[in-house]
């Protein structure tokens, strides 16, 4: 029985157009979690605990799916978004994802958040062959279709981002002496590896000598003051700031307080004006560089853009309690848009295989709120949907873009 189905899948996949042609419902094919009336989507989010600031993403997604459902659903089917609170704790994620896959029988897992949390379920979902897509983490390991064909990320990956900062630092700072502050976890390591690769490419064999200090902090540390002092003391003139929002704000403020003014690269994870730069103080943040791929919602330059206006109208109608300067509301919004589009493209073939096939078939997708020129592209061998970023610098109270779009290769 299963053999037959598989063969038919292959035939349908081969004849691409057949899959998307809208046949009668009678011909619809369903995997677990899908039916004539409903599509079940599983998700985990830190609604409580240390990283609960990211819970905003899940709430925005839920709001978007509510809108889709009220407007008739996807191809006539309602989205049932099962979003559970894992408190950013990997063991809890494992337990919840098992529950979603085995008890609730979801069609797919969408935008599960956190590098460590997703690492914990990486093997399991690939064994179970459950689509694990648009993962809300920028780790580079989600782009490995050979070993993990069922997992795919979304945002530009940390590794590439780190590499781009290294290239920029080497090109613009004379005699660079680099100080690194990073969170002591997977995210920090990914960012560090990319950066070191960039240094190696630029400096050759002795690249490690350019790093004069590399210090870490734990998320349980009350402050990173002591670490920032160590970096300043090392004589660094480049500061690679690999931190999550609260610590980013602390580090920016502390370096200004002690009069340390290096060229500073702040990772995109903490590039929020509302959650980092404003609390740290605009006067302390001038000149900080980041790699952006989203439109900065606090920047009046975009306030006339059609996609911004649409987002704002959506926020006011469907997510009215959320904060209009909180960029996580944009991440959630576009994640849900892309998810809806993938499901729409699946047509009446709502099997896990087809979901994965459609996710790996993005061709120059234009997604609202991405910076001009950035498009999503995937293929069965390319599991990195977004790969372009634009460097931006704090100028006054906003990120100002400079230079051209950069990709891993350029």
């Amino acid at each position: 029985m299963t053999m037959k189905l598989r063969r038919r899948d292959a035939l349908l996949l081969a004849g691409g157009t057949l899959v998307t042609s809208r046949g009668a419902r009678a011909e619809a094919k369903y995997g677990p979690g899908a039916s004539d009336t409903e599509i079940k989507i599983g998700n985990t989010m830190p609604y409580s605990g240390n990283a609960s600031a990211y819970g905003v993403v899940g709430r925005a997604q839920a709001a978007y799916f509510r809108m889709v459902n009220e407007q008739g659903g996807v191809n006539g089917r309602k989205i049932n978004f099962l979003s559970l609170d894992d408190g950013y704790s990997p063991p809890k994620t494992v337990e919840l994802v098992r529950q979603l896959v085995e008890r609730d029988q979801v069609l797919l897992l969408f935008s599960t958040l956190g590098t460590a949390c997703n690492t914990a379920i990486h093997k399991y979902v690939n064994q179970k062959k459950v689509p694990h897509i648009l993962i809300a983490s920028g780790a580079s390991k989600w782009g490995n279709p050979k070993q993990f064909p069922w997992s795919m990320g979304w945002q530009p990956d940390y590794h590439t981002e780190g590499l781009i900062y290294a290239k920029h630092a080497l090109a613009t700072v004379k005699d660079p002496k680099i100080g690194i502050l990073r969170q002591n976890d997977d995210m920090g390591v990914d960012y560090l590896d990319g950066f070191m690769e960039g240094l190696k490419a630029g400096l050759g064999k002795d690249y490690e000598k350019s790093v004069v200090a590399a210090v870490t902090y734990e998320v349980t540390d009350p402050t990173v003051d002591s670490q920032v002092l160590q970096l300043k003391n090392s004589g660094a003139n480049v500061f690679y700031n690999v931190t999550t929002p609260k610590f980013a704000a602390q580090a920016i403020k502390k370096s200004a307080e002690i009069g340390w003014k290096p060229a500073q690269y702040l990772v995109n994870v903490s590039a929020s004006i509302g959650a980092v730069i404003r609390p740290a103080g605009f006067e302390n943040s001038q000149g900080i560089i980041t790699a952006a791929y989203l439109k900065d919602i606090t920047d009046p330059r975009w306030h006339g853009a059609p996609d911004y206006l649409e987002w704002k109208a959506w926020m006011e109608k469907w997510n009215p309690t959320a904060n209009l300067i909180e960029s996580a509301n944009v991440s959630g919004y576009i994640g849900a848009i892309v998810m809806t589009r993938i499901l729409k493209n699946c047509g009446d073939d709502l099997t896990r295989e087809n979901v994965m096939h459609q996710t790996a078939s993005m061709k120059d997708w234009e997604v609202p709120m991405l910076l001009p020129g950035i498009k999503a592209n995937t293929s069965p061998t390319d599991y990195f949907p977004l790969q372009s970023v634009n460097l931006a610098r704090i100028d006054g109270e906003h990120w100002t873009l400079f230079g051209d779009l950069m990709t891993a290769g350029s």
Partner: protein, 290 residues
């Protein structure tokens, strides 16, 4: 040399924060014989109230005073309505209750004010008196506020009748009751004071670590370490303990074991003190009549 001084100064500031938290813990321990795990979250919650008041346009020092009053009342009410019914419950029930309070405060703060990091104003001038970033006015201010608070508390407990009554109520409730002390209210007063101290700690910490619902989670463990080092029953000892932990944490982290093991270091202190000198450096060994 300057680097060492900077690390010490930064350690003293963290130390002052730990000392404030430790003081709150000691306060509840002295007046009720319990360890309040929700101390940090209560402080965080009070800080949010201060933030809301300041956002509403109330000048800093008035908001500061109001927050202390609100926190005091809040602490009192928690004891009256939540802990009083549990007065004769086993310790384990109380511990569960404290942990419940911890997550309730955390969740409510997140619901009301969101988890986005917020800036909290400092009442002290910006900049530093030394001119090269050794120590900022805010850091000096935090240390001074801690010292003042300790002074006021010492005077209160040593030289006022109410303070004496509170100590009596905690150490020997039965005798105190026979002497005419209203024991149950003394416990409530202890909670009120602890909450008030916590609110001051929160308002001093927030300009440094930024205000968010998880602001105190990490700090509480260091606060415990501080309180234990000094002696959990001794306010002065707890303050000294807080400073010791703050400075040691920075120096040990920078020069000896690396930043990764700072928290481990705090926990080793906790375990070490409990094994070697359970009463702490300045604590008196409690002898109980059986």
């Amino acid at each position: 040399m300057e680097f060492l001084l900077q690390q010490i100064a930064s350690g003293l500031t963290s130390g002052a924060i730990y000392a404030c938290v430790a003081l709150g813990l000691v306060m509840i321990y002295v007046s009720t014989d319990h360890i309040n795990f929700a101390q940090g979250e209560m402080a965080m919650f009070a800080t949010y109230i201060a933030w809301a008041l300041i956002q509403a346009g109330i000048p800093y020092w008035i908001a500061f005073g109001l927050t202390i009053l609100i926190a005091f009342t809040g602490g009192l009410l928690i004891q009256r309505f939540i802990l009083k019914p549990l007065e004769h419950a086993p310790v384990l029930a109380l511990v569960v209750c404290f942990i419940a309070l911890l997550s309730i405060f955390n969740a409510i703060a997140g619901m009301l004010w969101s988890y986005t990091v917020k800036q909290f104003p400092s009442p002290f001038p910006i900049g530093d008196p030394t001119g090269h970033g050794l120590i900022s006015y805010h850091q000096i201010g935090v240390v001074a506020v801690t010292a003042i608070m300790l002074g006021v508390l010492t005077i209160f407990f040593r030289f006022t009748t109410l303070g004496l009554a509170m100590r009596a109520a905690a150490q020997n409730p039965a005798s105190a009751r026979l002497m005419g002390v209203r024991v149950s209210w003394m416990l409530a007063l202890g909670w009120g004071l602890a909450a008030a101290i916590g609110s001051v700690a929160g308002m001093m910490v927030a300009p440094i670590v930024f205000l968010d619902p998880n602001m105190m989670t990490g700090i509480l463990i260091y606060g415990f370490a501080g309180a234990l080092v000094g002696g959990i029953g001794n306010p002065g000892g707890a303050v000294v303990g807080g400073f010791v932990v703050g400075v040691l944490e920075n120096l040990v982290g920078t020069y000896l074991i690396g930043n990764e093991l700072k928290l481990t270091f705090a926990l080793i202190i906790v375990v070490g003190v409990l094994i070697l000198k359970p009463a702490g450096l300045f604590g008196r060994v409690n002898v109980k009549r059986v």
